[in-house]
């Protein structure tokens, strides 16, 4: 099982990467907790999570091939 995680904006600076392949995560809460353990600066940072380009507001089940994006508030324009 492979899940691809993309980091955007300031989260690239925090994690030192823009993409990470992970395996065996049941849901976004578990994935988020693991990432916050690995990169504690994430805890104090505001960000949204999208699964396959859809913003999620609550915990979301993850399946093989899912693309998860961690995105700080948008600042285009």
């Amino acid at each position: 099982m492979t899940i691809t995680v993309y980091f955007f904006g300031s989260l690239v600076d925090i994690t030192g990467q823009s993409k990470k392949d992970l395996n065996s995560f049941s849901d976004t809460d578990a994935l988020n907790l693991m990432l916050q353990n690995e990169y504690p600066a994430l805890i104090a940072t505001k960000y949204f999570i999208a699964v396959n380009q859809q913003m999620i507001k609550a915990n979301h089940e993850l399946n093989n091939g899912d693309i998860v994006a961690l995105m700080p508030p948008f600042s285009g324009g």
């Binding site: 955007f8 904006g9 300031s10 380009q53 995105m71 508030p73 948008f74 600042s75 285009g76 324009g77």
Partner: protein, 147 residues
């Protein structure tokens, strides 16, 4: 259902005034248009702790941004009687004083064009996954936040 055509709105670097002029000129042949509304976003030399912004570097989540822009485009066309709508946003580095966003709506009459343009700009700023990193003259950085 018609085939979905996803337009790319992104351009590398600043949007040139020539591109804007050319875009206006292109519409001269569309004689049912009576009003254009144009919004231009320009990189501002903000100051912080005595330092000045030199440029903004833009990045985006391309697939999601284009998909979302498509949805915004459809909803604006459904809501307003527009003849056409064009959106360009910069990616990469844009220097202070240069244009980073170009929104262009055209309609028979001014009200539709102006209101659609305003709504588009707000949607672009708050709904598109784009991030701006302010780069100061001493190379320090601050991630931009939209207000």
């Amino acid at each position: 259902m018609g085939e979905k055509k996803i337009k790319n709105i992104f351009v590398e670097g600043a949007i040139s005034s020539q591109k804007i002029a050319d875009s206006i000129q292109t519409h001269a042949s569309k004689t049912n248009i009576g009003a254009h509304s144009i919004f231009l976003g320009q990189v501002r030399a903000d100051e912080k702790d005595g330092k000045q912004v030199a440029s903004i570097e833009y990045t985006c989540y391309l697939d999601m941004a284009l998909e979302k822009m498509h949805e915004i485009r459809e909803s604006i066309f459904a809501k307003y009687e527009l003849t056409c709508m064009h959106v360009y946003h910069s990616l990469g580095n844009v220097l202070v004083g240069e244009i980073c966003l170009f929104v262009f709506t055209s309609s028979k009459h001014r009200k539709m064009a102006i209101e659609a343009c305003n709504e588009l700009v707000e949607a672009i700023k708050f709904e598109l996954p784009i991030w701006g990193k302010e780069i100061y003259q001493d190379q320090s950085i601050v991630w931009k936040e939209n207000k």
